[in-house]
Subunit: 260 residues, 2 copies
């Protein structure tokens, strides 16, 4: 299988760099192909701006302007070459690993900017069913459906503080905008995230445990059950995209979007 | 009062640009002072890298490296001048408005990078009580305590789909990493966010309603009750920073961090 590894840490000689190497060795040993997008090493441009749509001269980038300009540039093949290169890697990949240190409970800007720039309209959103043009393909459907996604984060927080009642918020819900709102939105099967806690002070024993966790989870990329996020078109949501009353009755919040 | 307005949209001639003007006129009419950080116009650098800590030559940026380098550069006054300028505006401000289009259910990378770069260790996190050095000041305490924060977003989503059971996730929980994990973490009083829905197709009537909402909420910046996030040091959390069993009993998820 083919794996794209997104790496968003400024230093390769870091805990994250070492864990990336553990993961890559695991893929190699299993005979998988891989490509690494090391965003800092690539000096990835984080910010969406007019230069991304150079083939669309004079275009405005109002709110629909960004979507409109990106859709037209995608359709006409005039997106900036660095974006096209990432889309080509993603098309090639059967699975994507997204690795980053949790900064302010989200992705470093350079990685957020990878999604802002690469996930353009017509590619990762605004995709309709060719047989039913009124049917939008997202949340489990779309051009990236069938690919797997594994998010791997490090955090200085202890595990309990990112747990179900921990002060920093339950990890999979803190990551909801990425896991559900981005990866699942674009159609990918999203695995439970992997986290290395207490990452600012790691003893040799703790490093070994973290490395073993990464090896296990990367080794099980194709055997792990994805998070059971509900599909948009599977009957769980009404016409206004609100969860049907009989499901997760009376509950609210992000947890209701997981089935079972 | 003094207001810092963070604006993160690539075009001033957009819905967001027009709503920003509405808000600024409201502040002017009430006699408040304001400064605008228009991140695209400023060509704000989104990515944390070694150049931010130019006064710390040869420093590694491992996981603790970023925190360590930023803390030392903050302490010694050698942070990059663009960061210092933003910290100076923040110190001056009594309130901050954070305005952006919701991209992939979060901030545009340029704005995430404002927090990544400006909220350095020793300033917005890693702050300890000078009288009790073992006591970390965060979640309602810290150097930014006493300032108010208002988040103002636009989204193409209809309101119901970002509601309590909507497919895109309940808005205040989707924004939890910013509202709770960043602004409240750094000590600020966080107001309920303001959202303009269906923002990719706005009729003149819908624009007027959105403008009135922005005027009302900006006008009530000092009268609106902040979100009742629980404080870290107020007795709601145990020594592992897990919510005490008697509070929001049996509940899990992001909602438990709101009192009452």
């Amino acid at each position: 299988m083919n794996v794209l590894w997104l790496f968003a840490h400024p230093e390769s000689s870091s805990l994250n760099g070492a864990l990336c190497e553990e993961g890559i060795r695991t893929l190699e040993a299993a005979g998988h192909d891989y490509r690494i997008s090391d965003l800092y090493a690539m000096k990835w441009k984080a910010t969406v701006d007019r230069d991304d749509f150079a083939g669309e001269p004079g275009g405005r980038l109002g709110l629909s302007g960004v979507a409109g300009a990106s859709k037209e540039a995608y359709r006409s093949g005039t997106l900036s070459p660095d974006i096209l290169a990432e889309q080509e890697k993603l098309d090639w990949a059967d699975a994507v690993v997204v690795q980053f240190p949790l900064w302010w409970y989200g992705m470093p800007a350079i990685l957020k900017g990878w999604f802002d720039r690469v996930f353009v309209k017509g590619y990762a959103y605004g995709v309709t069913d060719p047989r039913q043009p009124g049917r939008t393909l997202r949340y489990g459907e779309g051009k990236l459906a069938g690919k797997r996604a594994l998010v791997l984060v490090s955090s200085g927080s202890p595990e309990a503080a990112l747990g179900p009642r921990g002060i920093n918020g339950q990890l999979d819900q803190v990551l909801f905008p990425l896991l559900h709102g981005t990866l699942w939105y674009a159609g990918m099967s999203v695995l439970p995230p992997v986290a290395v806690y207490g990452a600012d002070r790691v003893s040799p024993e703790q490093y070994e445990a973290a490395a073993a966790l990464v090896r296990d989870r990367v080794g099980a990329l194709w055997q792990t059950d994805p998070l059971p996020f509900r599909t948009q078109n599977g009957g769980d949501y009404d016409d206004e995209l609100v969860l049907e009353p009989g499901l997760a009755s009376d509950a609210t919040g992000l947890g209701v979007h997981l089935a079972g």
